[in-house]
């Protein structure tokens, strides 16, 4: 084994989630199974992504990979780093407290109005969980997606 390039790209959770789901479907259609270590790992990863409050646990999926360039474009004026953008896509902060968890020195870099603007853009592009009253329906929808 030889490592040719340690890191040739960064993938967001939605990209990995989509890849693994597509793979599971493809294997199923071709009536084949991957090696046992992969089958177990894939199952565990899909379970992880579909655990609340991970945004990918929301069904139907609140956003797909086409949301990534859109979000980057909308957040351009705020000078958010690439790593922070990846976290915003993965964690989907829909409140200022949750935004603080993914931005470095948020309070020094952004005023209160700006913090709220960023949260509003995240909600607009990536969606948010419906209010708690509807939560039970969401729970049932989640169950049916698991094998």
């Amino acid at each position: 084994m030889k490592i040719l390039e340690a890191q040739s790209a960064v993938l967001t959770n939605i990209e990995v989630y989509k890849f693994l789901n597509d793979q599971a479907k493809q294997y199923h259609d071709q009536k084949r199974r991957g090696p046992a270590n992969l089958e177990t790992l894939r199952k565990e990863m899909l379970q992880y992504f579909e655990s609340h409050p991970n945004p990918l646990s929301q069904k139907p999926l609140p956003y797909d990979t086409s949301a990534i360039p859109k979000l980057i474009q909308r957040l351009r004026p705020y000078e958010i780093s690439k790593g922070e953008l990846a976290m915003i896509i993965n964690m989907r902060p829909t409140s200022v407290a949750n935004l603080n968890a993914v931005l470095e020195d948020m309070e020094e870099r952004f005023g209160e109005d700006q913090q709220q603007e960023i949260v509003d853009i995240v909600i607009e592009v990536l969606g948010q969980f419906p209010p708690p009253a509807e939560e039970e329906d969401q729970g049932d929808a989640m169950q049916t997606t698991e094998e």
Partner: protein, 195 residues
């Protein structure tokens, strides 16, 4: 949280796999070797992302194995330092909290990285954050947000071929992550999401 790593390797296809199409046999061999395994200083391998190149197959002398040189990209779990991710509490000791992500278990948050006024409850074996007289528990199986502050790599090469040394090497976790919850928005998800 995930990266793509470009790798070159030799794949050996056994005669029992000759009924499979070549690209499937190659993919299965790569995943059987790498999936759910740690490469030192790279991360936890998930699965092959795409096959970039493959040589002609060459049959080995006396073995019947078909040798193929390949280059491929691997999806790898490798959160960067400073990255915030979701996890679940798997246990607590006086030293701190153990966290897992379902597919990766070796995450630890030291008590020094929990917010001020957090204490260990010996009876309940749980850490408790005391805020204005209210006692908020870091309960087992709760979902949390934590931030990666460091990573540790341990090669599992045993000191000798003796069974004891082999067992000892196997117990070492090849890749472990230390995290922090000392920032507003980190810690139990429910604390921040109920609003």
């Amino acid at each position: 949280m995930f990266i793509l790593t470009k790798i070159a390797d030799l794949v050996q296809i056994t005669p029992s796999q000759f009924d499979q199409q070549s690209h499937i046999a190659i993919e299965n061999n790569i995943n059987a070797k790498y999936s759910n395994r740690v490469i030192q200083k790279i991360g936890l391998c998930i699965c092959m992302y795409d096959l970039l190149w493959a040589s002609e197959g060459l049959i080995g002398h006396g073995t019947g194995l078909v040798n193929v040189n390949v280059e491929f990209r691997m999806i790898v779990f490798r959160p960067f330092k400073g990255e915030t991710l979701f996890g679940k509490i798997s246990g607590a000791t006086q030293e701190g909290l153990s966290i897992h992500t379902k597919f990766f278990d070796d995450i630890f948050v030291s008590y020094k990285e929990l917010p001020e006024n957090t204490e260990y409850d010996h009876n309940e074996k749980a850490w408790v954050w005391v805020v204005d007289e209210e006692r908020m528990h870091y309960d087992k199986n709760e979902m949390v947000r934590f931030q990666v502050i460091d990573e540790t790599w341990r090669d599992q090469i045993p000191d000798s071929a003796e069974e004891e040394a082999l067992d000892k090497a196997k117990k070492l976790s090849p890749y472990s992550i230390s995290g922090t919850m000392m920032k507003e928005g980190l810690g139990i998800c429910l604390w921040w999401d109920e609003s």
